[in-house]
Subunit: 516 residues, 2 copies
């Protein structure tokens, strides 16, 4: 059996015990095994601090961007192989795999391009300098400098390529060495990504290390200049935040956690064939329920529809969801693969049972499909009192599951119901009435880190609310974790320290590298 | 005896039990008493959410700025009275009191002025919009919107006016209602500030509430849209971060905590009379040890000097520190008042005893002066092995206490020693050699949120490293709390939610209020 390896201290480490299996979720066949036993995590951190950090900081932003471009290229050059690994280990269709794999190479390429605008600099000026006295003898300029620590990335099972790539792009561009840790159960694709990047000799030694398996005492060794970025469940996030060592060192922690994302159909949109906006709504919502079998933190979990249209919308959604073919992505005609693991399947079944206490199932069963493989067909629920829907606003069922909720057509009511989710990644709003959308934004914009507006004018181009594009913020308040990734420079700043440099204007400009 | 009141739910609340005393630290005379007993904290939060929040959000940034201007004016108009309260309750000299009181009115005035550039808007666009598809049918624009919760401000005893003012300025400008809680022991000045602002009828009801005394279950009632900003000890900060309710709701928390700030004398500066840079160093360092009796989070705690000059620097500092007159600020000729409380006096004595394990006292006693009043004369220590100085890099002694540390004249060594503080608010560097300062910044800039460069060219204008001016970031990584206050808009963003608005360019620009 294939044994996955970790890449640490400039070499590949293969454990000899403590293995966990990696499974094909379509067949339940064991594909590989992985373990981090035998790794000295202190040495891994030292290697990053002593080799990777200095080597990256010696480069300029533009030079680091050039490394990202090479990383992107090597992933793109092996796209078919990575898609195949994704199908095997994540059970993804080709489209779903490409959402992950092309997402990784695309995000790396985006940050490579962005780096050109940052230039051949070792620190970034932020904003204009400001005079602080009557003369220019006292002046201030904010700059951003690389944090002198290690970026530890703990990623979720659903994006083995993109999760690695989007986090690593920002940290490496900032000048911080990365230790990346994929979810063990789906690490096949990540291991191959790192293997390709290492074999191509792109990065300085120590700039990128990979740990597959438990992180041991790694997190207890982090300090004040380190950054820990986590994507996963709110429960695990809470435990991480609570970790005495991280609290004591006040390590910077970024969290992307549960998100009860909402799609809102505006009252101006008629649920009829021929309405471009309603067509976009249907296409988007069905995609955001079923893409990657609903295993996206940006998937739509709640669908708000004006009360008088909910029956029509329900019919239209059921008709589309009914056309989804669940099965092994290796088989022709299959449009949706299995859930990624047995645990995810159990969680999804338990989750629907919980939702069914305050909502009723109107399509699908909320149960496993078939006896072999972790298949779970699309399941649509409906709660008739949106404000009393309890778990619908609290339990993220990580599968192809969403709940219809009626509202009274007012922007205020819609935003209040969306806010019951306690902070989410994305709200999608479908309307051609800019006044109504503006009112929704004023009331409820702050409940999400991103508001996606679907309209007739965007219908031809919009990629759906689930795409976390590198140009736009990915992260939401409250239950969603309060983190901030991507969004152009926003995500890079997680790995930079903001410093106000004060002194005479001439000296400040000289040391900050700003032309007067 | 005077009983301090809280201002809640549109009225003044006077408790009838559970009182703590407020004392004049020069005379130990009890000045007043305070208690928050009888306050329904759920009602206080509801009042902010139901009245203050909507009223503030109905105003534009520029309109909210106008309120700050009025707040600034009412404090300035009562400056003498506030300075007198500060002297009574904080034991401040007139200069030290003005650092706090004028700091408050000045920061409010600064944000009032800044608001004009933000304009008559309800949300702020951030950066330029970006095209996300081949046509402008899909576009993104980041905007910043007020968080729809409450800003709870827990302030430290040393800045009863500025601590209130600098936090409230940013939150109110952002459109968030404030509940401010000063340290009970020195709340006399804060209570009067709020009384003046309330009497002047400046703010909408619910925009500003005051709690003097325990916060009861207030912090357990915070949610995902609320913000908690805390200034105080790292220990208390850790307990706050650890609070299950704040973790569960993922309330946004900003911390300003301990900081072992360092002053570094560059190797190019001769420690002789006639050197403007050395003169600035001496003036600054002595001020940063003694101002407010060393009770500033930005005070200098560590003084790094090239080994071959440390004896000369020590002599020069002792000569200046010896001229400080410690006593009751009401008495003529006194240049430094007492510590603020009996507890602070005990902590300072214990702290110096801890430092004295790895350093030796070269000036002062590290003990109380006199039998009455919390007086504590300037104390200078010296450790001959900077890297083995243990507590010198870890224990913030919150009084007029600093430790001399030698280094080998290299920028790399200086920055390594500074970094032993585990993250600080401000490093001051005294040098006229831009190359050396640039090297220091490259190595060690990120260990602090602010780097203050003292040089011949700034000697006439520089206010000292301890001044947290509103234009420049106040906050540091690691032990310093990892928070970000002030710094112009940076501090306002704590109270805003960043939202990426996506859709067709025309619709995004319309709802985001951006002209095409």
């Amino acid at each position: 059996m294939k044994t996955l390896r970790s890449y640490i201290c400039g070499r590949w480490h293969e454990a000899t015990s403590g293995f966990a299996p990696l499974v094909d979720p379509s067949t339940e066949e064991v594909l590989a095994q992985a373990s981090s036993e035998g790794i000295d995590f202190g040495a891994v951190l030292d290697y990053a601090r002593d080799h990777g950090g200095p080597a990256l900081r010696a480069l300029t932003f533009a030079q680091r961007g050039a490394l990202l471009k090479d990383m992107s290229k090597v992933l793109r050059d092996h796209r078919d192989e990575l898609l195949d690994l994704s199908r095997q280990n994540n059970g993804t269709t080709k489209g779903d795999g490409s959402f992950d794999v092309d997402g990784a190479s695309g995000t790396l390429a985006y940050y490579a391009a962005l780096s050109k605008s940052l230039g051949d600099r070792h620190s970034l000026p932020e904003g204009d300098g400001v005079q602080l006295a009557k003369t220019d003898g006292f002046w201030a300029q904010h700059i951003l400098v690389p944090r002198r620590g290690v970026a530890v990335h703990v990623n979720a099972f659903n994006f083995p390529a993109w999760g690695f790539g989007e986090k690593a792009a920002c940290a490496l561009l900032a000048g911080m060495p990365v230790i990346t840790k994929p979810a063990t159960a789906t690490a096949l694709t990540t291991e191959r990504c790192i293997e390709l990047i290492v074999a191509a000799g792109i990065l300085p030694e120590g700039a990128l290390q990979l740990i597959i398996g438990s992180t041991g005492d790694l997190l207890d060794r982090l300090g004040p200049q380190d950054v820990m970025a986590f994507t996963g469940s709110a429960d695990t996030a809470r435990k991480l935040r609570n970790r005495p060592s991280l609290l004591a060192a006040n390590t910077r922690v970024n969290v992307e956690a549960d998100s009860l994302n909402a799609a809102v159909l505006g009252p101006d949109v008629d649920p009829v064939e021929g309405s471009a906006t309603f067509g976009l709504f249907l296409k988007d919502v069905v995609r955001e329920i079923t893409q990657k079998t609903g295993q996206k933190c940006t998937a739509v979990r709640r669908i708000l529809v004006p009360s008088d249209r909910i029956a029509a919308v329900q019919d239209a959604l059921i008709s589309r969801l009914g056309a989804v073919v669940t099965g092994n992505p290796a088989d022709a005609g299959v449009t949706m693969g299995p859930l990624a693991t047995a645990q995810q399947l159990r969680d999804a079944e338990e989750g629907v049972a919980e939702l069914a206490r305050t909502a009723r199932i109107v399509h699908g069963s909320g149960k496993r499909s078939g006896a072999k493989g972790f298949f779970f067909a699309p399941t649509l629920l409906r709660a008739d009192d949106a404000r009393q829907a309890g778990a619908v606003h609290e339990r993220e069922v990580f599968g192809p599951v969403a709940t219809l909720l009626p509202y009274d057509a007012s922007a205020a009511a819609a935003s209040e119901i969306v806010a019951l989710g306690g902070g989410i990644l994305v709200t999608s709003v479908y309307s051609d009435d800019a006044g109504w959308v503006g009112e929704f934004l004023a009331h409820g914009g702050g409940a999400a880190g991103r508001v996606y507006v679907g309209s007739e004018s965007s219908a031809a181009d919009a990629p759906g609310s689930g795409a976390a594009l590198p140009q736009a913020l990915h992260g939401g308040p409250g239950r969603a974790g309060g983190g901030e990734e991507l969004g152009g420079l926003v995500g890079v700043k997680l790995y930079l320290q903001r410093v106000a440099v004060q002194g005479s204007k001439a000296l400040v400009n000289e040391v900050a590298g700003v032309s007067a």
